[in-house]
Every structure is written in structure tokens, then in C-alpha cells.
């Protein structure tokens, strides 16, 4: 029996469901460490990290070069050993310049003294959570929420851990390859997480298009009283936290609340892997597996790169572009961010970099809604995008609020199926911002 949720879409074609065939059979290739890495202080949700080094410093592999800037923040570590050649704002995947530490690689990979295995069993729980924080672990599925915050705020509230291996975004196969090639790391990581959080059940949730990973994982889990494998039907956006929780446990995270309010903590498979590496090797987050794919890429691959590697080097490793790109994306095609250059660093949450040669976006001039209702059927939050759009385009913020625009998770399912090509998500993003502005203004007025 495979679990799933109501709503959602199946991107892809019959021959290539999820557009994953270009890379799902390609083993992870380790990319040679680059001559230079650029490490922005913001690779996570929350306060930027505070830089600890200055130009000219010599740093070692795994050395903390920026410390957390608050509780909801994560430190940054040197992903190569070498010399700090600059501490300055550099182009980030978010399109703006972000304070970054630039390190020139001496290619010695000299380990920092702090990188040594930890004795998990003899540590107190607070020490363990501190270790995860110090390792700079964030949500590796792309959301990049600091993991220690999730753990700390979930202890006592959560009875279930879900390990998110849905990887429902089209094209991306990095988690698939990790589940296939390094399942031991992931399963061990889950065991650590289960102990830290004291939950009574944990599920490793994987969609059926990754069935080739099941046998090995089931073998590793054999006899485990807490951790189970949860097969999922293929359906986007199953990897969205609320949908995953609903699919596996049947629970609904209340509107406006967090997964912990439904008793669940969700971690990406590679986040579990990072937890393992943190305790077993003492290694902070310095690498990441990136799927490089799309119709403009000569030879799509799954590459393991040091965090901070320039994406251009990943493209080079894939034989460059076979056609001039029309669209560059950091992340998947449903929720990823468009880029105007490959001159941006790989971040902790970069699970994919895609390049399309054709216009896959298919925008039209003056789109008109034909009221086909497709958007209503696919919305995983069970909203009514057709009416939300009607209100948004008339600048009717009350209508948007009444039709729950704030519950929209911006998954893009509605815009994907819309035959009229209405830029629904774009509309909702603006509407959400304006509704929130309005609420803030009202709250401020109420205070006076």
C-alpha cells in the first residue's frame, strides 16, 4: 500500500514521468574541489551568520568561518582549506549581493581540529542539539530551515519523525541517488534523530519511482521497532511538509500552524545524512549533491560539489550547454528560482540546477480564465485558485483573504495545469504580501 494526499499533479510525460530519466540512473560524481569557493553568510532561513574570519586568514577544511547570528540561524564552515581572499558582498542565488567569505583553495584539504567523531551516547541531549547547530545543518530539501530549531521546538510536541525522500519536484534526482548509494548514512542519521527527539515512530517516506532503493533500506531497517519505510504514490507536491504529513499519518496541520502542531517533525533525507556525518565524522555541512539537468545541458549529471562552488563549474563538468539556455533555475522547475547567470555559488539547499533551452513556461499575452476548474481540483491546500485570482486581479484584498490566499503554499500546481496560462502563483504571492501588509497596518492602527 502506498500513501498519498488529495490534489496535486503528475508533471512529466508517459515515457519520462517527472522528467527524471536524464539523471536517475547516473551515479553521484564527486566534482573536483574548485580553486575558489564563495560562502554567503545566508544559506538558511533566519538571521545571517556573523563572519569570524578576515581577509588574509588561513582556514582549514570544516573550520567555522561564520557563527550563527541568533537562535534561528546557522553557522557556515570552510568547504576547502586555504586562504581567505575576500570578505565582501557577492552575487547570491536570490539575485542580490550577500556578504560572503571567499576562500582560495590550497588543495590540501587540511582538516580543522574541530572535525572529529563525537561520542553520541555520552553526550547530553542539549550537547547533541548544540552539535547539530554547530555543524550548520539546515533543511537540505531546499527550505533550509535550521535543523536544531526544528528539533528543539519539536521535542515533547512531536511523536513522529518523517524523513522526506519524496523528491516530488520534477527533474531532481539527488535524494534518489543518495538513498540508493548512501542509505547507511541516512538510516544512521534517522536513528540519531529518533534518539534525540524521543519519538515513538519514524517513517522514511519515498515515492514509488524510487523503488530501487526500497530493498536496501528495508534490509537496514529490519527489526527496527521505530523506523519504518513508507512508500508513497508519485504525486507533486508530496514533499511539501503538510502534504507529506497528511499522506503518511492522515493528520492535517492546522491552518497557519507548524508541523509540530500535528505532532510531526519532517527532515529531508540528506539532512538525516548530515546529522550522521556530524556525529560519526564530526564533519559540518561542506558538500552537497546537485542534480544538473534540463534540455540545455549537454550531459545531465548528479554532482557532489563543495558548498560555495561556482555553478559554472558544475555546468562545465556536464559538458556545458548544448543549446543556449532560455531559463536557468536554482532548484526544481515548480518552486525553484530563476537565475540570470551561472555565476552563483552552490548553497547548502541547492538540490538542483536546471537549464532549459526552450520556453517551458509558455506564457501568453492577456491570459483569460476559462473557469475550467482544473486549478480547484489540483490545489493540495483545497483552495479555489480561480476565485483567488479573480479577487487578486480586481485588487480585492478582502476577497483574497476570505478565499484563504494566506494558506497558499505556492506549490504551483494550479499554474501548471491552467490551460489559460494565468500566472496564478505570481498573483497569489503579490496578494499574500499585500494582505499581510494590510494586517500589519491594521494591527499597528489598533495599537494606537
Amino acid at each position: 500500500m502506498a500513501y498519498t494526499f488529495r490534489g496535486g499533479i503528475h508533471p512529466g510525460t508517459k515515457d519520462d514521468p517527472g522528467f527524471k530519466s536524464a539523471t536517475n540512473t547516473k551515479p553521484i560524481e564527486v566534482l573536483k574541489a574548485p580553486d575558489q569557493v564563495i560562502l554567503p553568510v545566508s544559506m538558511h532561513i533566519g538571521a545571517p551568520a556573523k563572519v569570524l574570519v578576515k581577509k588574509g586568514d588561513i582556514v582549514d577544511l570544516g573550520q567555522m568561518i561564520a557563527e550563527a547570528g541568533g537562535f534561528v540561524s546557522a553557522p557556515v564552515h570552510a568547504s576547502v582549506s586555504g586562504k581567505v581572499i575576500d570578505v565582501a558582498p557577492r552575487l547570491h542565488q536570490n539575485g542580490s549581493k550577500v556578504m560572503s567569505v571567499v576562500i582560495e583553495n590550497d588543495h590540501e584539504d587540511r582538516l580543522h581540529e574541530s572535525v572529529k567523531p563525537k561520542d553520541f551516547e555520552s553526550m547530553t541531549n542539549d550537547e547533541r542539539i548544540q552539535a547539530i547547530w554547530d555543524a550548520g545543518i539546515v533543511g537540505h530539501g531546499g527550505a533550509t530551515f535550521p535543523t536544531h530549531v526544528k528539533i528543539k521546538s519539536g521535542i515533547g510536541k512531536c511523536d513522529t519523525i518523517l524523513i522526506n525522500g519524496a523528491e516530488c519536484e520534477p527533474y531532481i534526482t539527488s535524494d534518489h541517488r543518495l538513498l540508493l548509494e548512501r542509505p547507511e548514512e541516512i538510516v544512521e542519521g534517522v536513528r540519531y534523530l529518533v534518539k534525540i527527539m524521543g519519538v515513538k515512530q519514524a517513517f522514511i517516506c519515498i515515492e514509488l519511482n524510487k523503488q530501487d532503493t526500497f530493498a536496501k533500506i528495508e534490509q537496514l531497517l529490519a527489526g527496527d521497532p521505530i523506523i519504518k519505510l513508507a512508500p508513497l504514490e508519485c504525486r507533486y507536491p508530496q514533499g511539501a511538509e503538510k502534504q507529506l504529513i497528511n499522506a503518511v499519518t492522515g493528520r492535517e496541520v492546522p491552518s497557519g500552524k507548524l508541523p509540530a502542531d500535528a505532532g510531526c517533525a519532517v527532515f529531508n533525507v540528506d539532512t538525516a545524512g548530515a546529522v550522521y556525518r556530524c556525529f560519526a565524522k564530526g564533519m559540518p555541512v561542506i558538500r552537497r549533491v546537485v542534480t544538473v539537468s534540463g534540455s540545455a545541458i549537454a550531459e545531465p549529471k548528479n554532482l557532489e560539489a563543495r558548498v560555495g562552488t561556482c555553478v559554472t563549474e558544475l555546468i562545465d563538468a556536464c559538458g556545458g550547454f548544448k543549446k543556449d539556455p532560455n531559463k536557468l533555475l536554482a532548484g526544481g522547475p515548480m518552486m525553484g528560482n530563476a537565475q540570470f547567470t551561472t555565476d552563483v555559488p552552490v548553497l547548502k539547499g541547492t538540490n538542483a540546477f536546471l537549464a532549459f533551452a526552450e520556453d517551458e513556461d509558455k506564457r501568453v499575452k492577456d491570459p483569460t480564465c476559462i473557469r475550467c476548474g482544473r486549478c480547484v481540483g489540483v490545489c493540495p491546500m483545497h483552495l479555489v485558485p480561480v476565485y483567488m485570482n479573480m479577487f487578486a486581479s480586481r485588487n480585492n484584498l478582502e476577497g483574497c483573504e476570505e478565499y484563504d490566499v494566506l494558506d497558499c503554499i505556492e506549490c504551483g500546481s494550479c499554474a501548471y495545469v491552467c490551460p489559460a496560462r494565468i500566472p496564478l502563483v505570481q498573483q497569489f504571492r503579490v496578494a499574500k504580501m499585500r494582505v499581510q501588509e494590510k494586517r500589519r497596518a491594521e494591527a499597528a492602527a489598533a495599537k494606537k
Binding site: D324, M335, D361, I370, V376, M381, Q426
Partner: protein, 334 residues
């Protein structure tokens, strides 16, 4: 260095499904072909000419309207072509061409464009055109020829056809016309009197199946509509017929299949959620049987759908899905 001069920046999602408005309308046109073939076989080549005239008139009216209000021409989305075919399909084959053109004008200009065009009109354009024609020229709109007779290809007047008029099965059941009821089988295949597109239930079912298969429509509206009519005509047989017989005549006559698969499923004029579509379908079914049994007309599909069209905004409001994670106490029964 790579060339990024062609790179565009837009917000997510960055991929879209293949289906667009045009491909959907194209599928509807394909789904109407079986009926066109059967009707041509039954009534002759005039069917094709009538349909072509109707489609052409719809396209021309839409073009003219767009020109006048200074909008980009919208005939490329093919929705006007669909309206054209449907309008022809709900008229008798003997209708003079000029009346059909007037009907097309009402459909496109009054029922569709004046409300803002595709997606904003709230009554079904083809049915509005038919209702107008029926009110204006009731005789011409209810003059039916028997299957197999050939109306003159170019003839434009009623008189030449008088000799061969036939009654529709529903009119016979209602007692408002004389004649022998055709057998169920001949109604399935289309060998009976009626408007052009509604005579063959089988051809319409094939088209409906195609629409379902292509996911252009969902089963909710037609199933609720046809199911309601089936149950009612089975429980309350009409005009001295047996229960099952009454149901079969109720289902396979009077354009029910055409209405259920092609008219009640019209996107612009039907609810957006599946729950709403079920309510809408049941409403259409109830009204259809009530008009057939108690109304002034033997046939109820057209008016029942038009009536239900006006309630769509209400249905949409009260069948709005409960959002994910809504507080339990607010949760309505699904």
C-alpha cells in the same frame, strides 16, 4: 564564457502542462465529429452546410465584436467554433440559414461577448441562441423531418419541407404530437426525428467518452445529470410507458446526451468544483424532467441548463471546498 543573452527571469512554476485553451476546444470539436457524421447520414449533406454556416457566423461575429471594442481577436481559442457547432446541433436541419445566422449573432454577441467573452459569460451561448430562435420562430424551430428524408441543400423556406415533417419521440410521449414512437434502437443510432446533433445517443456517448478520456471534462456533471433523469423517469414513468421503457426514452431522446456531455459541462457556465458540478448536474436533471412532464414544451434540456447556469455563482459559493487544515468546527460535511 556562456551566452546568457536569451535567459529570461520569471516567477515559478517554470513548466506548464501541454493542454491550453485551444487544445481543449479542439478536443471538444473532435468529440462532436461522430454526431456530425451520424447526423449527415440521417439528414443529408445539409447538416454539414448548416454546421459550417453556423461556425463561420460565430467566428465572424466574434471578430467583428473584437474589432469594435478594440480587443485582440480571440477566435484562435476556438471557443466560438465550438459554440457554432453546438448551436447548429440544437437546431432542426430544416431551419433557414438566415435564422441560424441570427441565432449565432445572439449566441456570440449577446450571450458571450457583451459579458466580457470566454470565461465571463454566465449563460451557455449556444443554448441562449437556441432559446432566442425558439421564442422568435417557434414553428421553424420545431419542424422536424423524418430520418432518411433529405431537406434541400440550399432551400431557405419552410413550405417545401412541410410534407415530410415528423414528431420527436418526446412530443409523441407527451401527446402533443401524433405518431408512432420509434424503437429504442433507432433512437440509439439516430434514426428518428430531432435536432441535428441530438439524434444519435451512441454518437454522443462516443464523443462524451472521448472528452472523459482526454480529461477535458470530469464525469461529475454528466453522471449526476443523466443519473437524476434516469432515476426520475424510472420511478415516474411518462405517458403510459412501462418503468424501464420510460427511462430509456427519457435518456436517449431530447438531446439529453448532448446537453449532459457538451452543454452542462461548458466551463464558463458551470461550477468549478466537483462537488458543485454534482449539485449542478442534479439540478439540471430535476428541471429537465419537470419541464418535460409539467412544462409547456416536450423538451427540457435547453431551458433546464440555462436556468441552472444562472445559479452557478451560488453553487460555487456553497460548495467551496474546505481548505486543508481548517479548524474542525468549521468543517462542513464533504
Amino acid at each position: 564564457m556562456y551566452d546568457f543573452s536569451k535567459v529570461v527571469i520569471t516567477s515559478s512554476p517554470h513548466i506548464k502542462s501541454k493542454e491550453d485553451t485551444r487544445s481543449i476546444m479542439c478536443d471538444v470539436l473532435i468529440a462532436l465529429l461522430p454526431s456530425l457524421f451520424v447526423s449527415t447520414y440521417v439528414f443529408g449533406l445539409r447538416v454539414i452546410l448548416m454546421t459550417a454556416v453556423s461556425v463561420a457566423a460565430c467566428l465572424v461575429f466574434e471578430t467583428i465584436y473584437n474589432k469594435i471594442v478594440g480587443k485582440a481577436n480571440t477566435i484562435g481559442d476556438l471557443s466560438a467554433a465550438v459554440t457554432g457547432v453546438l448551436l447548429a446541433f440544437v437546431c432542426p436541419v430544416t431551419l433557414p440559414y438566415w435564422m441560424l445566422i441570427v441565432g449565432a449573432g445572439v449566441s456570440i454577441i449577446l450571450a458571450k461577448s457583451l459579458f466580457g467573452g470566454l470565461g465571463k459569460n454566465f449563460i451557455n451561448p449556444a443554448l441562449a441562441g437556441r432559446a432566442f430562435l425558439l421564442a422568435s420562430w417557434p414553428v421553424a424551430m420545431t419542424t422536424w423531418v423524418t430520418a432518411g428524408s433529405r431537406a434541400g441543400l440550399l432551400s431557405n423556406s419552410q413550405e417545401t419541407l412541410d410534407a415530410i415533417t415528423a414528431a420527436t419521440p418526446l412530443a409523441i410521449i407527451k401527446g402533443s404530437a401524433e405518431g408512432d414512437l420509434p424503437s429504442i434502437a433507432s433512437m440509439l443510432w439516430g434514426m428518428c426525428g430531432g435536432s441535428m446533433g441530438e439524434v444519435s445517443a451512441i454518437a454522443l456517448l462516443i464523443g462524451g467518452a472521448y472528452l472523459l478520456f482526454r480529461k477535458v471534462i470530469s464525469f461529475h456533471t454528466p453522471a449526476a445529470y443523466i443519473g437524476t433523469v434516469a432515476v426520475l423517469t424510472l420511478l415516474f414513468p411518462a405517458g403510459g410507458l412501462g418503468h424501464v421503457q420510460s427511462m430509456l426514452y427519457g435518456l436517449f431522446s431530447g438531446g439529453l446526451m448532448l446537453g449532459a456531455f457538451f452543454m452542462a459541462t461548458d466551463y464558463s457556465t458551470s461550477p468549478v468544483s466537483h462537488k458543485g458540478q454534482v449539485v449542478f448536474g442534479i439540478g439540471c436533471g430535476l428541471l429537465t424532467v419537470m419541464i418535460r412532464y409539467f412544462g409547456g414544451y416536450p423538451e427540457g434540456v435547453c431551458y433546464s441548463i440555462l436556468l441552472m447556469n444562472t445559479t452557478v455563482w451560488l453553487i460555487d459559493k456553497y460548495t467551496r471546498p474546505t481548505k486543508f487544515g481548517a479548524p474542525a468546527k468549521q468543517k462542513k460535511e464533504g
